[in-house]
Each structure stands twice: as C-alpha cells, then as structure tokens.
Symmetry: C2
Subunit: 427 residues, 2 copies
Amino acid sequence: MASSLRSVRLTLSQCKSLPITSSHASNLLRSTTPRLSPSPQDPFKRELATLHDGQIQASLVEVTPSKDPKTPPPPSTLVFGHTFTDHMLSIPWRADSGWGTPKIQPYAPLPLSPSATVFHYAHCLFEGLKAYREPSGKVTLFRPDMNMKRMNTSAERVAMPTFNGDAVIELMKQLIRLDKHWIPEEPGYSLYIRPTMIGTQPALGIAPPKEALLFVICSPVGPYYPQGFKPVALYGTTEYTRASHGGIGAYKLGANYAAGVAAQKAAALQGYVQNLWLHGPQHHITEVGTMNAFVAFKRDNGVTELVTPPLDGIILPGVTRDSVLALARDHAAGVLKIPELTDKLVVSERPVTMIEVKAAAQLGELVEFFGVGTAAVVSPVDRIGYLGEDLHIPTGPDGMGPLSRPLWKYLTGIQTGAIVHPWSVDV
Amino acid sequence: MASSLRSVRLTLSQCKSLPITSSHASNLLRSTTPRLSPSPQDPFKRELATLHDGQIQASLVEVTPSKDPKTPPPPSTLVFGHTFTDHMLSIPWRADSGWGTPKIQPYAPLPLSPSATVFHYAHCLFEGLKAYREPSGKVTLFRPDMNMKRMNTSAERVAMPTFNGDAVIELMKQLIRLDKHWIPEEPGYSLYIRPTMIGTQPALGIAPPKEALLFVICSPVGPYYPQGFKPVALYGTTEYTRASHGGIGAYKLGANYAAGVAAQKAAALQGYVQNLWLHGPQHHITEVGTMNAFVAFKRDNGVTELVTPPLDGIILPGVTRDSVLALARDHAAGVLKIPELTDKLVVSERPVTMIEVKAAAQLGELVEFFGVGTAAVVSPVDRIGYLGEDLHIPTGPDGMGPLSRPLWKYLTGIQTGAIVHPWSVDV
C-alpha cells in the first residue's frame, strides 16, 4: 500500500509540466485509498488528508495544544495587531496533491526558504474578521462566509489555490474555541482573526506557486475609538493611484497595501490622519485609506442620498460596505426600521467625484462623509484637504452624523449580539 | 556601558510614535559608543554594528562557513532558480537602530513570525544580477551599482529603509568569492544573484515596517537558450494592466509580479509563450512579460529606428534596457563600432503603440521586436497575438534580427569578459 502510494506520487511529480489538478490525483488514488475515518494514530491519516480529494478536510485536523500558554495582557494595554493568542491554524497546499492536513498548533515562527515565492513576488493575500464575546459568554463571528468567498476570489486573481470556505470556517471556529479566553470581557473588545495565504514554493521564476500555506492567527483588539468617536481629516491623494482598471484593486491582496503606504505617509506629513484615494482626471472618490467610502447628500425633495462608489473593478468589495448598504436599503425600502435613522433615504452605488463633494459642501448639501471597514466599523470624516484647500464636513457633537450614527449602532448591535441577526454566526 | 545602551534603547522604544530615524539614534549614542575597530570576539561588535551610524558596515561582517557544503549538481540538470549555493548574506534593520551586523552564513530557512509585514502587506522587493566566471577563472559582476541604486528607489517607494549600495556590493562579493565554485565552467552559465528586502515587523497594521531584512541568495543558472535562440510568441494583453501612472510599475517590487501572473497564465492558455502589456486605449507597448520592450522600424532614408518606451513612471528602468540603449546610442554616434551592426541607426525613447507596430508590419517596415532583461539578456519575438489576429515579425535563421544579434553579442561579450569594459566589475 505504502509503495503503491509512493509510486503514484513519483509519477505525479515527474509530470510537473502537465496541468495536474488535485482531482486527477484523487481519481488515480480513489481505488487504493481507504475512506473510512482513520484513528488519530493511524499513519495513513496524513496521507489521506493530503491525497483525499485535494480539498481541505476539517475533520482531519491535528490539534497540538500549547505547553506554555501565555497570560493575556490587560486589555487596556492592547495595541492593534501586536498581541497574538496561543495557537494558530495552518493548512499546507501542494500543486500535485492539493490541500494537506490542517493543524492547530502553538503560535510559532514559519521557517520558510529564502527563495519562497512570497518573499519575491508578493504572493500573499489576507482577510480580516472579528469574533465577539457576548455577555452570556457566547462567541460569534460576523459574516465569515463573505471573507471566505473574497479570499477565494483574491487567490484566483494571483493564480493561487482556491478552497472550500466552509471547512476553513469550521477550523477557525475550533481555533477560536481553543483561545476564546483571549477575548477580553470589556465592551467594545473583540478578537481580530487574520486568515492569510502565502506562496511558499522554494524556487525563483515568476509563475503560479506550486506550494502555498493558508494560516490563521488571532489578535485581541480594543475598541477603535476608546474615548468615543473622533472624526478624521483626510488628504485627497492625486499624486498616487491605488488601483486601475485591469489591475488588482478589487482583491484583498498584500500587493495593494505596500503600494499604498507612500500615500498614507505623504498624507501624514501634511498633517492629515489618512488619505482619500482620488482616481482619474475627474478625481473620482474610491477609498478612504484602506476603507470603503460613503458620502451623504441632501436632495431637493427632503431626501438624503447615501452614495458609495460601485464595484467597477477598482474598489474592494468590503464586508462592512456590503452590510451598511444592505441595512440602509432595507431601511429605505421600509422592511427594516433602524432606530434614530430619521432621514428619508435613497441608497446609490454610483460614481462620485470630488468636484461633486466640493460643490455640495459649498451649497450646504453635504450631510456627511465616512469610511467603513472591519477594524473601525465606521470612521467619520470632518475635513478633506483637496488641491490645496480644506473642505469641512459636518459632524455631530459625538463625532458622528445622522446616518453613520444609527447605522453604526445597528451594525455593532448585530455584531455584539444585542440584535439577533443571521449575519452573526455561533462559534 | 551595557546599561547605558539599554536605557537609551528603552527610551527609543517608548517613543515609537515619533519619527525616530537611525541618525537620531546615532546622535544619541555617538558620545558613548567606541569607534575603534573591535576584535571579532569583542562583545561590543554586535552593539557597534547595530548602533554605529545606522548604516551597513561591510567590515563588521560575521562569516560562518557551512559545516555541510553540498556538491554542486551537474550543470545540465539546472533549472532556473531551483538550486542555491551553500551560503547567503543577511543584514537586519530596525527603525530604532538602523542596519545591524551583516552575516554570511549557511543557506537556511528564515524563521519569521506569522504576523511579519511581508506575509500581509507585500513589503518585498528584489534585484537580479549575474556573476560570470571568465575562462581565466576571474569572476565578475555586471553593473551591480545599477541594481543597488534601483533597490534603494524601490525601498523608498514602499517606505522601507535605504542603504549604502557600495557596502552591499562589497558583501555580495565576499559571498560570491565563498561560493564561486558553484559557477559552472561551461560557456553561457553564470551565478544568478538575488538581493531581496522584506518587511519583518511582527505586527499587523498598515504602516512602514519598523523591522526589515536585506538578504542575498545565489543560484547557478544555465544559458537561457541552450539550443540557440528561439523566438517567442506574445499575447497582446488588453484585459489586464501591469501598471498605471501614480502606481508602482517603475519599481522592482514583488507587488508587480504577483499581479502579473494572471496575464501570463491567460497568454499561455491561448498558446502564447509570454504576454505583451498594452497600456491605455491606444494600446501603448510597455513591457514584454517581465522584460523591457524594444521595436525596430525601417525609416524612409535607409535608417533603422530602434525604439523603447520612455521611463514615464509605468516602465521598469531595466539595467539591460539601459545597457542596450547606451551601446546602440554610442554606435549611432560613431563613438563605438559594434561588429555586424550594419544598419544606420537612430535610437529613440518614445511612446510606441500597437497600432504603429501593426501598420509597420503590414507595410513591411517592421525590422524586429525583442524583449531585454537580466535572465535572457535578449529575447526575440516572432509573433504577437493582437485583438484576435496574429502579427508576424521577421527573425533571421538563427532566431535573431539585424539589431538584436550584434547587440546581444556585444553585451554578452562584455559580461563574459571577452570585451573589456568598465561595466564588468571584478569580484
């Protein structure tokens, strides 16, 4: 049996130039590979997980608890993304055998060859989502299916392996259950989950990597605005572009982020907190730093129009963006009543230029401007530096506006379990 | 002394929000840090190298020879970028102390935190250059100063540390001298050198990384065309864009390469060897896969015009591009006589569209089309798939053309030492 498996593998590795898919490997092996669930000590378990049908098998996970668990630090000392829990999930992938055995093991360095794809050609992509601990102790995730769907889209864009998202959600839940004592009990705190995929083939040469690693790490994080909302000042960036049509702006690839740091730095040097990406000669509003952008305008008939740029290939399809749109549309359609949202609303996904925003500000028709994303949920803006002058944007005494305040309250209500909603998924 | 150093360090790390530069650190420490050359065993050597003046100090390199050197494989079995020599160079950097001690040590995996910047935000950049072994046994590098200059430009674009290129050239030479028996003696073979820089700060959050690693690995490589030149067929890519104005196309960042693999894959699926990046509505020729593009046209007055797109922000400033331009210009000006280059030449850096190339092909005025880069040096093209039809491009019986052949011969003559030239630098 072992020699039969080995001989099939040799054949596969000898045919590297052929487009061998994991299902080919599976067909070749189907007749000789036992499918009954192996015992944890079964030496075939690893072979099975590697060769099964190339897909991630959550049931075959190997869990190695940490022998040296840490004491979570006091929540008030947390800095975003600097503290990690005791465990991580990792799942290797090879072009000739598909996804291997998932492992939950102590958080530890990844020993990668200096020639690994990720160090040279930026084959890396990620997701960000949060696990919340409800007062009852129940832990939930917010719309993890959306993250898995987008992660697959990102992977496909850079010729990396796709995977069954449900299996990774199941494995993330196991990881979170193991480390759930890391979620601080204080309100506003959560566990930030970072699924990541990197190319690990130890060879130079620009091509789809033949080896990859999907891993998930967890970081306890505090509220984005511990002292209440603080609106930010944006610098309207026209010197750099974040994305272009035919490019990668619609994908959550690492490559978008290294390229954006220069614009962020330039904004900071001029005294702004973040940059606003303005695209093309008409200065279309695309994104706020690494968040999606929303603008609200007063319309003639007493209606407020809530606008966000459409998903035309240069905008990241944000989960918070999608959630805000869905809630606002349901409210506008009368199928949902969001408390305190008194404006009569129309919701638009349409192009919006800085010229339109500037004109509205001058006419007193600009209701508000805000960014949305997983980390901050909603980030109100009170000033935009644009071509040498500052545009001032109204915000309320609490730093928010008439749309962002009720939308933020409702959304975080769902996320923290105060409002029962199918978007919140039990861990 | 040790405690004084430690206390300064604590102060620095407490001030993380301030823009502490390595020269600040240096000024703080100058009065207490001895500058006389330490003995190799001196425990202050590491401190010194770390804190000196933040710059890379080649003289402080620590060399650890491999205890288990490998036997280089037979040259004929080499696959590009799959085999590495016994040693590597690495130099760590920290925002609070600058460049640390350079180390030449056995080639080994890099143990990086799963939260390291490079895995999430694609803070990675690289260079590629070759070391040649002359028949006399002398080893040379080709224009390494150009690579160091570009590497610094790339680093700056993504807010990573710059460095003194001369020190890294000196360290690369030491590394190559140690592993020079890996350069095969057969003609056409060389040692491909890959300087790389990655962000290594173990923290999430999009910002300039506070820790980085510069490393250099070496791979023995064979001739790009072992059986003589083989012209390639290109697919004119209009569905994807490689770069845009205000973006990162002019920098050798990993981020450009992951994004390009999809276009390469699409070209391959349609039966082409590589893709030709066509930019904007007029289908400007920008690059050939990951090489710079050259086109030659017959002009009325019996002159041949050699054209390459200008460095307008979306073109990589290639070292081979620069070398071909310089040689062709010197020949056109009569200050250099390139043997076998009989065409009367004008050399242009100007925009060139696919429409112009297609019209020239139809009128019989297209002399040739080729890509240039470090790996292949010159790569002739015999066919371009463009909007559903194939354009045929003349090539000679040896696969090359009247310009690419003599230029390639002259350039490789310099690289291999047959032609004495200051571009070739002794190792």
